[in-house]
């Protein structure tokens, strides 16, 4: 069974006076991603890659078309059901890391587990283990402001993977990093994809970064072009 399946997925925005201008951010997209794949979605600005990622992450609703995460049809799920799905089955890595500034690296990772209702002891153990895995075993008590961009993004990856999601969605994860840190981060994602078997979908506009993924999807004008 595919981990992601989209059928004729569209997302239109309306702008201008009386919403006269229709912007087709996503236009009749069909997509299927299999478990364990590492997929990159690339394209120029405005091509619809982030919109597609938002759809896959159940963060936004399509104008038309259908989308499944494994066997779960997202269309028609209410806000609470979508929140539950994101909490239990999806992991997110954002361009700006989006860590909670007042929490330490370990607490940031723990927070998602707490939302899932994991007890204090296993929560801490799993957070430490994930931070160890991303190479931050020594920095568990540091707060985001005390870490470099690359380290913060590793914490964000540990946070996204700690809950053992079916699908990891990464939105331009290396956009704010230098080339060496980017290479380290991409190697880490590749290694995690192989060792944990987590399906990864990554949006990037960086052609070098996109080649770390085993499958590359290119988008233009809201459509998949390859």
């Amino acid at each position: 069974m595919s981990i992601v399946r989209c059928e004729e997925l569209s997302r239109y925005y309306y702008q201008g006076a009386e919403n006269a201008i229709e912007v087709r951010a996503l236009d009749q997209v069909d997509l299927q991603i299999e478990p364990g794949e590492f997929v990159s979605i690339a394209g120029p600005s405005g091509s619809g890659k982030s919109t597609l990622l938002n759809m896959l992450g159940a963060l936004d609703q399509p104008t038309s078309g259908k989308i499944w995460i494994q066997d779960e049809l997202l269309n028609g799920l209410n806000k609470t059901e979508l929140a539950d799905l994101r909490l239990r089955r999806l992991g997110f890595v954002f361009q700006s890391y989006n860590l909670i500034p007042v929490l330490s690296a370990r607490e940031n990772v723990e927070f998602v587990l707490q939302l899932q209702g994991v007890g204090a002891a296993p929560r801490k153990a799993r957070a430490d283990s994930m931070l160890e895995r991303v190479g931050l075993g020594e920095l568990t008590d540091r707060r985001p402001a005390e870490m470099s961009g690359g380290q913060q993004q590793r914490v964000a990856i540990a946070r996204a993977l700690a809950s053992e999601p079916d699908l990891l969605l990464a939105d331009e994860p290396s956009a704010n990093l230098d080339s060496q840190t980017t290479a380290d981060l991409m190697n880490l994602l590749t290694e995690l994809n192989r060792s944990l078997g987590t399906t990864i979908v990554m949006v990037t506009h960086d052609t070098e970064v996109m080649h770390y993924a085993e499958r590359q999807i290119k988008m233009r004008d809201g459509k998949i072009v390859n």
Partner: protein, 425 residues
């Protein structure tokens, strides 16, 4: 759970100045509530105690028919025994029996109406401040071991002036006995009372209770028993202490012609004071409500600002699967901590300030002091800490800030996650 508390606590100190200002607003409100309410209730104590210690007492026991129609024949047999019994109870500060009648007060040339009150001098001064209002001569001597009461009287200064009498003169009082005979009471004036209350000063005559009973042929009876408590809030018209003492000492029951004795509390005896207190509570309640609303709005505004600043953080948490109610719960927790900090500081400062200022007393100004002194009222208002105001003020602020936070964070439900994540921090 520990993580949620840690998050709430640390979030408070992300912007220390704002947190301190908000907590300061809560502290100020709690401080004001404790200080002003303590002072307010302290002034009620003064009003009630002063009013009660003119004549009535906190509780007054009389025959029911005497309450409706104060005739000299409606006597309370066993009144002195009742007063003695009540004085022996620890919960009661003082109690005294009195006999009262209107009379004609005469000198050699003129006659004026008077209110003659037979009092127990030793106990009257514990119930009433009138014995201390003697500004010429002295008050009635206590009977001591003597069996016969002294034939002496203390009269109002205006009555003395109207009758052309002064200390050392003789006053003749003519009244009616319970059996409709003529009562004649002759006494030497030993003191003049200036109570500051014209009605009293032009009619009041205090004589020893025994002298009154002899002259009015009361056969040991009296008309009322006045009872004072340390705290008027302890007074109850239906206490076991009163009911048992009445049952043991008085002859009046539900079956006797006058009915059972009437036990009246200070607020029935002095409805004007109760009315003044009710009115003051209502108007101050409006003032406090306005202040609380102002502080609550300022806190709500703070939370609206905070929410805007943390939009991306909330968007991220919502994206990760946090429910809006969970996020609002963490903000409620932050508010609780904020209100608790402000509340505790306000309660501490409020209690300390109230204690020291209350001990020193608040002067109402030189002019007011002379007027108050004339009415035998304290020149400064003294008050204690109204302890129950502390938890009530803190709880009130906790509840209102919780409400403010709840309304301010409604926006979390309407938050568009995709837009929130992109928000600049």
């Amino acid at each position: 759970m520990q993580l949620v508390w840690a998050l709430a606590w640390r979030n408070l100190w992300r912007n220390p100045r704002r947190t301190l200002l908000s907590a300061g607003a809560v502290a100020f409100m709690v401080f004001i509530l404790i200080f002003v309410v303590s002072m307010q209730y302290g002034s009620y104590d003064t009003m009630v105690n002063h009013g009660a210690s003119v004549v009535h007492g906190h509780v007054q026991i009389q025959r029911t028919d005497y309450v409706d129609e104060p005739r000299v024949r409606f006597v309370l047999e066993g009144a002195q025994a009742l007063a003695t019994r009540l004085r022996n109870d620890k919960s009661i500060k003082a109690a005294t029996a009195r006999a009262m009648s209107t009379a004609l007060a005469s000198n050699e040339e003129t006659t004026h109406g008077a209110m003659v009150i037979g009092v127990d001098p030793a106990n009257e001064s514990k119930v009433s401040w009138l014995p201390r209002a003697v500004d010429e001569g002295r008050y009635l001597a206590t009977t001591g071991n003597r069996t016969a009461p002294a034939a002496e009287a203390v009269i109002g200064r205006v009555l003395a002036k109207n009758l052309g009498l002064t200390v050392g003169d003789e006053i003749v009082l003519l009244g009616v006995t319970p059996e409709d005979g003529m009562a004649v009471l002759i006494a030497n004036i030993v003191g003049l009372i200036s109570s500051g209350q014209p009605a009293l000063d032009r009619a009041l005559v205090h004589v020893p209770l025994g002298l009154f009973q002899e002259a009015f042929e009361m056969q040991g009876a009296a008309h009322s028993v006045a009872v004072m408590y340390d705290d008027f809030n302890d007074a109850s018209a239906d206490s076991d202490v009163l009911n048992n003492a009445i049952a043991d000492t008085l002859k009046e029951t539900a079956d006797t012609p006058g009915g059972p004795p009437n036990v009246a509390l200070w607020n029935r005896l002095m409805p004007e004071i109760q009315g003044a207190i009710d009115s003051d509570k209502a108007s101050s309640g409006v003032l406090y409500s306005v202040l609380v609303i102002l502080v609550t709005f300022s806190i709500a505004n703070t939370f609206v600002m905070m929410l805007f600043e943390r939009t991306r953080e909330f968007g991220t948490l919502l994206a990760m699967g946090a429910k809006p109610l969970t996020l609002r719960g963490t903000i409620q927790l932050e508010t609780l901590l904020l209100a608790a900090i402000g509340g505790l500081v306000g309660a501490l400062l409020g209690a300390l300030t109230t204690y020291f200022v209350g001990q020193a007393g608040i002067s109402l100004g030189a002019e007011a002091e002379s007027v108050l002194a004339q009415f035998q009222m304290p020149e400064r208002i003294h008050f204690g800490v109204l302890w129950k105001a502390l938890p009530m003020a803190v709880l009130l602020m906790i509840c209102t800030t919780q409400l403010a936070a709840w309304f301010a964070t409604q926006r979390v439900h309407r938050m568009q996650i995709v837009e929130a994540i992109r928000e600049e921090m």
